[in-house]
Symmetry: D2
Subunit: 234 residues, 4 copies
């Protein structure tokens, strides 16, 4: 499995109101940038479509879309093709989040087209088998997230560590160039450390940061534990 | 049927590349604002989600979303609830465009919730019967657009004028408070005049303006004909 | 509102396993036919697609599909157009059940096409406004079913009687030719009586009959109460 | 790649009217059974949901559903879970046909659940990469069908033979236990022979047989060529 030079903290803003929108969204992105600069880990922010432009203008860390529609640009009212998020300043996109699943053919199409446009892809998968299938499509990153744990605060690394280790093994077998992240239920630095200990390169996290009273300290805590585990286990 | 104080020109940017995005999208919105100020007609611009923030910050005419997802805010990765477009500065939204149809229950839910949030709604319908059904849900505006004419340059007012007049009649019967627009195939000032002559209050138009070499003059032409017809037929 | 000559008991088999399939499905349909013959009320059975043929060959009461896909026949792998359920022996179809919502345009298209094929339509709606919108499309029957009550055993007639009475009023206003049924949470003869007392012509019911230990007696109980209420309130 | 003992001719009835329904559907299934018996090749028939019961009662060759819905049995009005097609007498199902694409997670879930129910799976894929991704999920069969060729009468084996050979190679690499078929544009015995020559074990075919004036002779022609090529190339 491909290990990036430093651990990854991908922050999915989802569509929490008021947290994920407007001035708050911008503040959250700036806090993420600060953590990235101070700790050296990679922090990716994934705001809603409507917030990408402003955030991308204001921070220098990678900004990802949460989703893209599997369509070419054109007469596609209300759809957001890859070109739209690129124009908005995004450098990549989440694809196939458990709250926004896509058809197998569309994932393959989007991953390939994103590559040709210079956009990175982080594809979500609910099981090791789906993660391995997606690995064949060669995205940059895969996050394994059992849907039944998303938003629960119960980390997959604790509830079902074998899902993480099986994913790492299967992805390694089918496409060793893909970076694997752990998602679902990540809420503390300890969970991030466990994700890295189990063989993945970081986490995809949402409410624990976005709805936190102090997102900055939460991210600092996660980054610190990520770096410690990174030293020890990679 | 409710007649607004002046004719309406609603410009759907769709997702044409590069026309509907970035600097070009902003220029188009500014040209629309100029036309609104110079002629006194109402010009609504409907850019893609990713362009709403910047356009809403820069123009004073109504900015509509092209679509909203029928979801509450929350753990809804990649979806755009009404709250998101409101936070982005939109004052309304298109709903149920022929390229993005919604379930009947969702249209009703969105129209009612938009009202409670102070957002206007422009609901598309493909036939007089669907327009009348939607009128029962009490949106601000309905645009009748036979899908087979969208993007053809053949105006419904010419190809199937009875679709427009039947819509006006049926909407009037089921909910006289709704404003009716004509969509589909509008490409000239003449088409706009026909739309008003047939009893509607304006048009919903896309490629003829968005992909025009000179969107400003195209809008000026449409506005001029709209005003002439408005004097004569309202 | 159109009142049929006798009250209606529409039985949605859903996809309960093993209740809704095979030999059991056929027995259930035969029990329904027996109740219809013995009591004189109209009993409609709506089995899964895969059971329509056999049931339609074996009973003489109306057999409805639970759903139809809004497509023309042709290269439509895995879809079931209206022609398919007609060929299978169905005399009508449920449309837009809360578990299988359809787009507004598709409901209108299906209702009209079903009429031209001689198939009856029973369209579900979650609110009085949606019911009224659907009434404009002129189906034969509308069942109002607040989704939050479906399968709860709490009848809408008890929990939210105003939803039923508002539906009756609004449908009457927009299209008096449509028959209205009450759905959601119907589990006893008393609930059926309440449905008729509130102004509707019968009920759409599922689990209370399909998963009953003795579907025949449950239907007899409902039919008896329906007839009593019918005498009193229609 | 897994080679079955004899070549496979899978006949997708689609939803052609009147060809795919009623008496005609049954006659077509019987002709397929005759061809299977006379030639020794495997013929699979895939009729619409509404025709499965009757056909499965009348023929002894494998009957597949054209699609299944990725749902558990229960309160699922109008959906067809795996249990429904099993009860109806099917021995397997097509999944992810280009006219009925499914989400990656749902394909994986259906393939695994079908296996546990003793149902076979034939999963369609539009590209070699998607075929390889699906192979990771371990269905019994994969049919590669570039959607742009479906229904054209231009066989993929002629227009894009490298799609077939790349699929064979990639599937072999990721899961050698899966049988590969060629779909899209197959219309003659020659096309079937080409499919086998390029390394696949047979074909998935629809209109060329279903809408043929004489489906029996068309199938005999295909079976004959399949057997000849089978001798030569397997």
């Amino acid at each position: 499995m491909a290990r990036p030079p430093q651990p990854i903290l991908a922050v999915n803003f989802k569509a929490y109101h008021p947290y994920s929108f407007g001035e708050r969204a911008l503040r959250l992105a700036r806090a993420a940038e600060k953590v990235a600069k101070e700790t050296g880990i990679t922090v990716i922010v994934a705001p809603p479509f409507t917030e990408i432009t402003r955030i991308a203008e204001n921070v220098e860390i990678p900004v990802f879309a949460q989703h893209v529609d599997p369509v070419e640009p054109g007469a596609r009212t209300g759809y957001i093709p890859l070109e739209a998020v690129k124009e908005a300043g995004a450098s990549g996109t989440i694809i196939n989040h458990s709250e926004h699943r896509l058809r197998a053919s569309d994932i393959a199409w989007l991953v390939e087209k994103a590559r040709s446009l210079g956009l990175q892809t982080l594809v979500c998968a609910d099981t090791p088998v789906v993660a391995a299938a997606v690995a064949v499509m060669a995205p940059d990153m895969i996050a394994v997230e059992p849907p039944e744990l998303i938003g629960t605060g119960i980390p997959v690394s604790k509830a079902k560590p074998e899902i993480v280790t099986d994913t790492v093994k299967l992805v390694e077998k089918h496409n060793p160039h893909v970076t694997v992240l752990t998602g679902a239920g990540i809420s503390s630095g300890e969970d991030v450390a466990a994700a890295i200990r189990l063989g993945t390169s970081g986490v995809l996290v949402a409410s624990a940061i976005v709805k936190s009273e102090n997102p900055y300290s939460k991210m600092v805590e996660m980054a610190a534990q990520a770096l410690k585990a990174w030293e020890k286990y990679r």
